[in-house]
């Protein structure tokens, strides 16, 4: 019986070690820049409940609507290097965790005017 215990505990340890190696590799692997296909983007917009806008349409809107709120969701350093004139920076990783934890912060950032036209990029 004690021998049984021993082998199962060794098995557990080995499994844990292998999982660790794999996950470290997974996180650190040189990831190719993931360009989502257009279909993915469409599907995402559908579930998110927002509309898509092309650069040309945005440029048009940009000229007409002076109240337009532009939100730059990239990292702060990216925003610093260059951003659409008049856009404001709200760095956000596209993970559900960020969306969940920073919802209030985003609401405050957007100013609470629910009818305002907002464009994220």
């Amino acid at each position: 019986m004690p021998n049984m215990k021993k082998s199962s505990s060794v098995l557990l340890a080995l499994t844990a070690v292998i999982i660790t190696v794999f996950s470290v590799w997974f996180v650190n692997r040189p990831a190719p820049l993931e360009e989502g296909t257009w279909d993915d983007v469409l599907a995402e917009a559908e579930t998110g409940g927002y509309s898509l806008i092309t650069t040309e349409e945005l440029a048009d809107l940009y000229q007409r609507d002076s109240d337009l709120l532009l939100v730059d969701t990239r990292q702060e350093w990216e925003y610093r290097t260059g951003h659409i004139k008049g856009a404001r920076n709200f760095s956000m990783e596209p993970t559900w965790w960020e969306r969940w934890t920073r919802a209030d912060e985003l609401d405050e950032f957007l100013g609470g005017d629910k009818d305002q036209t907002i464009v994220f990029y």
Partner: protein, 456 residues
């Protein structure tokens, strides 16, 4: 995201900024300026003393910090000594609870006085104390003491009070002096171990330069640190009367021993050569895991005990694996040049900003910079494309070129990272004197770069 908050007119531009820029539409950039960058704010106390409520809150915070220090293994060696000292006392003299409490208080005071002396010295000598605690020899000594205590916990020798000490305590007036003396001595044992954890506090006190405040701050810290020991002292009489604990207690002692060894490695690591910097922690974690999980033969009645052993052992093995694989997977770091006027002038003539890192092996934030920030893929990419990276290694003093650079750039200590714009002038507002995570460092780089693009 915004939609679920109730906003109706929400759009997303999936092409983002690059396409916008391509179309030549209006863009803007904001160089990093003071106040907007995070992490550069070094706490510079503007007054030499604190007043009123600020003082009370600060001290409360420090007290809580002292309590938290009990989570560090620094107090482990003190636990068996405390129990044996007070437990023995309670048995021998049949002391009443009140007298035991008085003894405990004396003990606590002794501890506090030793640590407060540390604070006063720090306040009087300025930054010297902090510098000393980062000295390789001091670090090696601290690590050595920890390992010695660890071997005691492994059962290689019994940790007991030196005979002379016990006799002195025995002779003294009604033993109160003895308790005080015990506290004083144990403070000496614990202080070097706690030192590195309170480095920030020491520097702060040194900055204030007020010995009274130094005393008060460290006195408060020690009260927090000693409080659990005080409670332990009072109840150690009862502890002794508990039935002998079985094998699990021995195992817990081994565990504490390994934690001490781990901490010794943590202290000594910054001054080790490269191979051991990864190898030693991995070796220790492996050894600890195998020992605690499988080799140790202690048994206990509880059904959960074998599981606990397996889990702790596995956790150690996982840690070792994690370190070794992360090290193996680590990408290339920033490619550093060594300092030369020629490289700098060449770089400036090509409108390329220069970043100079003043670095030393024994400085922990420097190492952190190298291991985290300067191995971040985006930092490495940008550094290669748009910057000239120069490292000045001041680990060994006495290099005349380095001495000249230190005074030229007015370097007060390491780490210091100097940012030189493409005009050849240093951007003083960007200068860094403490560790900065990759994201914030990129922001600094962007600040330096945008200054150069505006000039064009």
């Amino acid at each position: 995201m915004a939609v679920s908050l109730g906003y109706k007119n929400v759009y997303r531009d999936p092409y983002g900024f690059p396409k916008w820029q391509e179309h030549g539409l209006p863009i803007d950039s904001s160089p990093a300026g003071p106040g907007t960058t995070t992490g550069t704010a070094s706490v510079t106390p503007d007054s030499r003393s604190l007043q009123g409520w600020a003082m009370v809150w600060t001290l409360l915070g420090i007290f809580a910090g002292g309590l938290a220090l009990n989570l560090t293994p620094c107090v482990y060696p003190m636990i068996p000594i405390t129990v044996s000292f007070f437990g023995g006392r309670a048995d021998r003299e049949k002391t009443s609870q009140i007298r035991l409490i008085a003894h405990g208080l004396c003990y606590l005071m002794g501890l506090a006085v030793t640590n407060s002396t540390l604070g006063v010295i720090a306040a009087l000598t300025g930054g010297l104390m902090g510098g000393m605690l980062q000295n390789p020899i001091v670090l090696a000594a601290v690590a050595g003491v920890l390992v010695i205590f660890a071997t005691s916990l492994f059962g290689l020798w019994e940790l007991r009070l030196p005979g002379a000490l016990t006799r002195m305590a025995g002779k003294s007036y009604s033993g109160y002096f003895g308790s005080l003396f015990m506290g004083l001595t144990l403070g000496v044992v614990a202080a070097p171990c706690i030192g590195p954890f309170v480095l920030g506090l020491l520097t702060w006190v040194a900055g204030m330069g007020n010995p009274w405040l130094g005393f008060l701050v460290f006195f408060t810290l020690s009260i927090g640190l000693g409080l659990p020991l005080f409670v332990l002292a009072i109840f150690s009489g009862q502890l002794q009367r508990l039935p002998r604990a079985g094998g699990w207690m021995n195992w817990v002692r081994m565990l504490m021993g390994w934690v001490l060894v781990g901490m010794a490695v943590y202290f000594i690591r910054p001054v080790l050569p490269d191979v051991f910097r990864v190898g030693l922690p991995v070796a220790v974690a492996l050894a600890a895991g195998l020992h605690l999980g499988w080799l140790d033969k202690n048994q206990a009645g509880s059904r959960a005990f074998p599981w606990l052993k397996t889990i702790v052992g596995t956790a150690c093995l996982v840690m070792a694996t994690f370190w070794i694989t992360s090290w193996a997977m680590k990408g290339p770091g920033v490619d550093w040049h060594s300092y030369s006027e020629q490289i700098i002038s060449e770089s400036i003539s090509r409108d390329k900003p220069v970043i100079i890192d003043f670095y030393a092996d024994w400085c922990t934030p420097c190492r952190e910079f190298e291991e985290v920030t300067f191995h971040h893929p985006e930092v490495v990419r940008q550094a290669e494309d748009d910057f000239t990276m120069i490292k000045v290694d001041v680990t060994r003093a006495g290099n005349p070129l380095h001495e000249r650079l230190l005074s030229k750039y007015d370097i007060k200590g390491v780490p210091t990272i100097v940012f030189i714009g493409p005009d050849g002038k240093e951007r003083k507002d960007l200068r860094l004197v403490d560790f900065l995570p990759p994201e914030a460092f990129l922001s600094h780089m962007a600040g330096l770069k945008s200054a150069s693009s505006q000039k064009q």
